[in-house]
Subunit: 180 residues, 2 copies
């Protein structure tokens, strides 16, 4: 599949079969997070790959938004510098960086026949406790990952002409209105 096809056919996967995730496959997927862009190339992210089935069960228990028996999960988060600990804020740039890396993970998974779902609905302190992470690590997303059971259909999406303006706010680009 071309990259464009991979982007177009990626779906959030919430139902998995019981095929185990091979180590070399998840390694390749995680490496796509590594090469993501990040603000000022700071790369202040960490990815905790949950492979152990008992720990995975505990992680699921902290995530109301985690559906399906995924073979594994990746906890993606930001490691703040010690001196910014007091703010504990997820900076705008840090969150964007996690977004870039997570999209790469989801696309790479799909390209390699797997799938997953980025989950923001979880209890952060519960996750921190399970993985025993320090205070300056902020879990941002839990990404379920595994081999899809079924390929869902595309959820309803806005039309391109409704989300794109040209040159200024509210100005529709006529050529987009002729699209499906």
């Amino acid at each position: 599949m071309s990259a464009i096809e991979v982007i177009k056919t990626r779906r959030s996967i919430r139902s998995f079969n019981n095929k185990a995730i091979e180590d070399d496959v998840i390694e390749e997927i995680l490496d796509m997070a590594r090469v993501s862009p990040s603000g000022g190339n700071r790369q202040r992210w960490k990815f905790i790959y949950i492979k152990d089935s008992n720990i995975l069960r505990m992680v699921k228990g902290c995530c109301p938004g985690f559906y399906g028996d995924a073979g594994g999960a990746i906890i993606a988060g930001l490691e703040n510098e010690a001196d910014t600990l007091k703010t504990r804020s997820n900076s705008t740039i840090g969150l964007l960086d996690i977004g870039f890396a997570t999209e790469n993970i989801l696309l790479a998974a799909h390209a390699l026949g797997l799938g997953g779902c980025a989950i923001a609905s979880f209890n952060s302190s519960c996750i921190s406790k399970i993985i025993d992470s320090p205070e300056n690590f902020i879990p941002v997303l839990v990404i379920s990952i595994g081999y899809p059971d079924i390929q869902p259909t595309m959820p309803p999406k806005k039309k391109l002409s409704d989300i794109v303006y040209i040159n200024s706010w509210g100005k529709k680009w006529r050529r987009l209105e002729n699209r499906e």
Copy 2:
């Protein structure tokens, strides 16, 4: 190129040649933002494509981080509901959504022979004024886009074994330490 190759070879482009961006090419790139995942499938994003060279010059003037004579730019931002206007906050999920969509834009651009750079360093009220956007629209990133003049080399990246832990914080995955 496969999706994996596109992810691996994407670079932030800050030097462009003067080839104009074809409308059908940018339309395809913008469509990859449309099909990105978003929290709860809310899709509360807008993308303003700056094609007009005078407006593009003004946008550049608000962006100290905008390098190179890009053929165009995309302003990616969040449209808040009117009733959340008072917070004007960039919610975590909204920022992650812009991250997902922006990575898709950058990958699609690269797959189609173009390139760009996600720029967070800009004067937000200056951008809002130029595009005449309402108060409830928050510009999050300016994405330069065009045909690359030169393909930069990969900037220094951390080793995979330094950013990935297995099952719990600080636990290195031995197999990753044997990588380059």
